[in-house]
């Protein structure tokens, strides 16, 4: 499987955020998207996920493994946005099991996922009571409860301390080892062994 972006350009409102961007990420490959804020990192990720229409160019998955059938790009991606997509009034376990049912393709069990992000046993705590770092790790756990080959991560390590960032790097390595693809927009180093860098310079004025 190969995630290919071919000369894509995206407008946000009336302004051109970036144009002529092309890259490809193979199975097991990771891509780190750098650039100061405002250069359009999040916009690029949202465009990859299919949340934003492309002004020009196209995004596609080439030589998809047969087991995925002809699923479209959004159905093969996990998108972790700046927000955690969790309901404060519901407990951690309820949130995660909702996302497992909603997204389909169950992968790790809820408790397993909580273990992997180092928050075992917090299942029935209301999500609202968690600290920002813990909330971020729960939204990472969401990526684990249902399987998607491609992870699109927008500032995944924001709010994480060094220890949980290292732990998260381990999870990403596991995902890559399992032939997954990771595309992350961040300026904090993710601590990944092999990761292509991609500099977003934004629109030349």
């Amino acid at each position: 499987m190969k995630l290919v972006a071919d000369d894509i350009a995206v407008m946000r409102g009336e302004e051109l955020v970036f144009s002529g961007i092309s890259f490809a990420v193979e199975n097991g490959g990771a891509l780190v998207i750098r650039g100061e804020n405002g250069a359009g990192k999040s916009t690029l990720l949202r465009a990859l996920a299919g949340l934003l229409p492309l002004e020009s160019g196209k995004i596609e998955i080439q030589n998809v493994e047969p087991e995925f059938g002809e699923a479209k790009v959004p159905e093969l991606c996990h998108y972790l946005g700046a927000e955690n997509a969790m309901k404060a009034a519901m407990s951690v376990g309820e949130n995660l099991s909702f996302w497992q049912d909603f997204a389909g393709q169950p992968h790790h069990k809820i408790d397993e996922a909580l273990e992997l992000v180092g928050l075992a046993g917090l299942g029935d705590l209301p999500f609202g009571h968690l600290s920002t770092g813990q909330r971020r790790r729960i939204s990472i756990a969401r990526l684990l409860v249902s399987y998607r080959p491609i992870w699109l991560l927008d500032e995944p390590t924001s709010g994480l301390d060094a220890e949980s960032a290292r732990q998260f790097a381990g999870l990403m390595e596991a995902h890559l080892a399992d032939d997954g693809i990771v595309a992350a927009a961040t300026h904090i180093p993710l601590g990944l062994a092999a990761a292509e860098e991609f500099e977003l310079t934004g629109v030349a004025e």
Binding site: A71, P74, E75, E83, A85, A89, W99
Partner: protein
């Protein structure tokens, strides 16, 4: 999909959810009317159904602006847009959850409120029947308003202005049907069926229009 329905209902019933406030608001409207109009039973009986209907319409509108805004703020809306499940179907489920949590309980509470408004048996039955058939339309039309105003900070006000005119036919036929049941010459069935028809009509149009509107705001 069922998960979405279950989650939404669970969320609405939780403390912060909209369900409780909508019911309390409904109670306030129904209680206020006798004080405003005076206690004599005949007068109350004639305006009783109208009060219950207007209360149901306003209570319905109350909870609608948070229908999508909460999801948009915490990132859940992004996940809904990405999910392989058709967006109109998701909007249908969310509107249904909103109806189950506001429209339905209001309808079931009518016998309780009938005591305050001196309504007799037929009036109660007719009001409940028309509310049952009519309140879904409020949720489905309201979903369009909620989707259009999802990114606006003070969307609630605009939502009511946009949705209210579209709900007027439901109000007219709903109360008309109840009056038909109470006073002999007026018919009950035609307006009642029209209310149900409007609800079904918007059960289709609403989710599609709302889904189209949600796509614009990503």
């Amino acid at each position: 999909m069922i998960a979405l329905l279950k989650r939404d209902i669970r969320l609405a019933l939780r403390s912060g959810g909209g369900a409780a406030t909508a019911l309390l608001f409904y109670l306030a409207v129904v209680i206020a009317m006798p004080f405003a109009v005076g206690p004599n039973p005949e007068l109350l009986a004639t305006i009783g159904p109208a009060t219950l209907w207007v209360g149901a319409l306003l209570a319905g509108l109350l909870g609608l602006d948070r229908l999508f805004q909460a999801d948009s703020e915490d990132g859940t809306l992004d996940q809904m847009l990405l999910s392989p499940v058709a967006l109109p179907a998701q909007v249908f489920v969310k509107s249904l959850a909103h109806w189950l949590v506001t429209g339905l309980p209001l309808t079931l509470m009518v016998p309780v409120f009938a005591v305050f408004l001196a309504l007799d048996g037929t009036a109660v039955a007719a009001t409940m029947a028309t509310l049952l058939a009519g309140t879904p339309a409020i949720s489905f039309i309201g979903a369009v308003g909620a989707a259009v105003t999802v990114t606006l900070p003070r969307g609630g006000l605009l939502l009511s202005v946009l949705v209210l005119p579209l709900c007027i036919p439901v109000l007219i036929f709903g109360v008309g049907a109840v009056r038909g049941a109470m006073t002999e010459p007026d018919p009950f069935l035609p307006p009642f069926l029209l209310v149900a028809a409007i609800s079904l009509f918007f059960a289709v149009i609403g989710p599609f229009a709302a889904a189209l509107a949600l796509r614009q705001s990503s």
